[in-house]
Amino acid sequence: MHFKTKSDRWFDGINYLLLSVVGLCMVFPLLYIFSVSFSTMQDFIQKDIVLWPSHWDLGAYKYIFDTPVFGRAMLVSACLTVVITLFNLLMTSMMAFATVHSFVGSKLILRMIIFTLLFSPGLIPSYLMVRNLHLIDTYWALILPGAISTFNLIVIRQFFQNLPKEIFEASKIDGAHELQMFTKLVLPLSKPALAAFALFYAVDAWNAYFNVILYINDTTKWTIQVVLRQIVIVSPPDNNLIASLLKDPPPAQTVQMAAVLVATLPVLVIYPFLQKHFAKGVMLGSVKG
């Protein structure tokens, strides 16, 4: 370590101060919403909540988990997230492993993948395709059109290419075909890498909002993000939706905040796992666009 001069110490002091302010700005909104969602309305009105609830109250959460709209939306979101994550992972890794090989037409297929990076179809043609396939108002519309992210495909493909070739050659000599290699060798060997992509796909699936309002008109199939938008963004300040759902609802304020937290909770729970993995993936992403 170098000797620290006075100006160095000033610099560090200011730097830490500014960084703390930045960090606080990131944390405070969540902490505030957390506190209010667990507080009694009385405390909220008396502005007693600064950073921590003085009287804990679970009313807002009880309400959320008892209300059919919320319960169903969360169930739908949770199931969709699991299905989409597994489906996307399988689709992406299958295609990634297939295109590692050279076969009749493999170059054409690689070119096609690059083509899709340059030319995205556009909203209306994509929508019309989904409509022509009669997927509107079915969960398939949320699952199929996003099955493979081209970028993830390229990264996973590179990962597969770097697997030691010897094991594939050995398995080939033993009479295994590519399908067996995929299920018996590739998938088990790439568990950690695939776990990282699973987390990314899962966050995307849970956070998905636009494709839901695009393809799903049936309100009974809404996901948690759409419900959250309805009760916080569309119908404030007095929240007719909440009022209409129950005779004696808890105050809209705390319910809104509880809803925000519930819609964020899965992300907060998997974030520690996610964090370990993302740096490398993102680096590749930022370099390749």
């Binding site: 610099f11 295609m95 090989h101 083509f115 209306i124 019309l128 395709m129 199929l144 963004i233």
Partner: protein, 318 residues
């Protein structure tokens, strides 16, 4: 008389053997094709065919007749783009919001990355990083909800304003505050995350240069200004040029979620317009033309940006 028959025999044999080896190879690779098939189908259905679906921009598309039977109208949909005052206003909104994003959102992570880079203790640095990356993983619905909760008439910000003796402000319905709020939300969500690439660039700085500067008596400010900033200059330049290449992209979900009847005049952008005009009002051909216009301009800009980067001696993207 002999020659042509020989040639014919020759010519007909070659394609057949070629075809046969092709078949043989394909049969050998049949398991690869099984692995490939779902992905290929996906790409064709959702990535390739819809690109050609854009032809309805040149039609008067009728959903009941379909793409094959609808009438062709040439470029009239595109002419409408430049005659429609709505579209011109929306184009102006798009460019304005995007430029504001470039001016205010783009530099934020550079600053933050430089600040983080000066943190000597690895543990402290990591703690700050895990905090500032977090908002990136929240959905736009959550972010806009948080903003709404804080900015509504009885929200915390207005409580504070009143506490200090000011009038409350209707933040979410004031059209003048639309763009600033969009910018602040975007900074809150993405600044931390975007530091990653600059931190990587900072990590590759030549340490001998820094040590030489210390020996020469340069203090921290001087080191940052004369060594650190110039050495990440090319990364900054590349990202800025690329961002300029996507100047028609403002982010879809955020703007869409922020729009309400009060700020529509100032906040509607090309993406949201394509959605409302096409999906909500069913004007498929015209909104496809608008989308295609945006896509083509975007593609040309990105390719130009890429060429500029390559000309300047850096690695382009493609």
């Amino acid at each position: 008389m002999k020659m042509p028959s020989e040639m014919a025999a020759d010519g007909s044999r070659r394609p057949r053997t070629y075809f046969r080896t092709l078949l043989k190879k394909s049969w050998r690779d049949r398991y690869i094709f099984i692995l490939l098939l779902p992905g290929l189908l996906y790409f064709l259905l959702f990535k390739i065919i819809p690109v050609f679906g854009n032809v309805i921009a040149f039609q008067d598309y009728n959903p009941f007749k379909g793409m094959w039977a609808s009438d062709w109208v040439g470029l009239s949909n595109f002419k409408r783009i430049f005659e429609d005052t709505d579209v011109l206003r929306i184009l102006r909104n798009t460019l304005f919001i995007s430029l504001m994003q470039i001016i205010f959102v783009f530099p934020a992570p550079i600053l933050l990355a430089i600040m983080l880079n000066e943190v000597a203790r690895e543990k402290t640095k990591r703690l700050i990083q895990s905090i500032i990356y977090l908002p990136h993983f929240f959905s736009w619905v959550v972010i806009v909800s948080i903003a709404t909760i804080f900015l509504k008439p009885e929200g915390l910000i207005n409580q504070l304003l009143q506490y200090f003796g000011y009038d409350w402000i209707s933040f979410m319905t004031n059209p003048h505050l639309f763009v600033p709020i969009v910018i602040i939300e975007l900074i809150w969500k993405e600044t931390g995350w975007s530091t990653i690439i600059f931190l990587a660039a900072l990590a590759s700085i030549n340490h001998e240069l820094l040590e030489a500067a210390i020996v020469d008596g340069a203090n921290r400010w001087k080191r940052i200004w004369h060594i650190i900033v110039p050495s990440i200059g090319s990364t900054i330049a590349i990202l800025l040029i690329l961002r300029l290449g996507t100047v028609l992209d403002t982010g879809f979900e955020q703007i869409f979620l922020m729009l309400n009847p009060f700020n529509r005049d100032i906040g509607e952008v090309l993406d949201t317009y394509v959605y409302t005009k096409g999906i909500k009002q069913g004007d498929f051909s015209f909104s496809t033309a608008v989308g295609l216009f945006k896509g083509v301009v975007g593609l040309v800009l990105v390719l130009t940006a890429n060429r500029i980067i390559k000309k300047s001696g850096n690695d382009g993207l493609f």
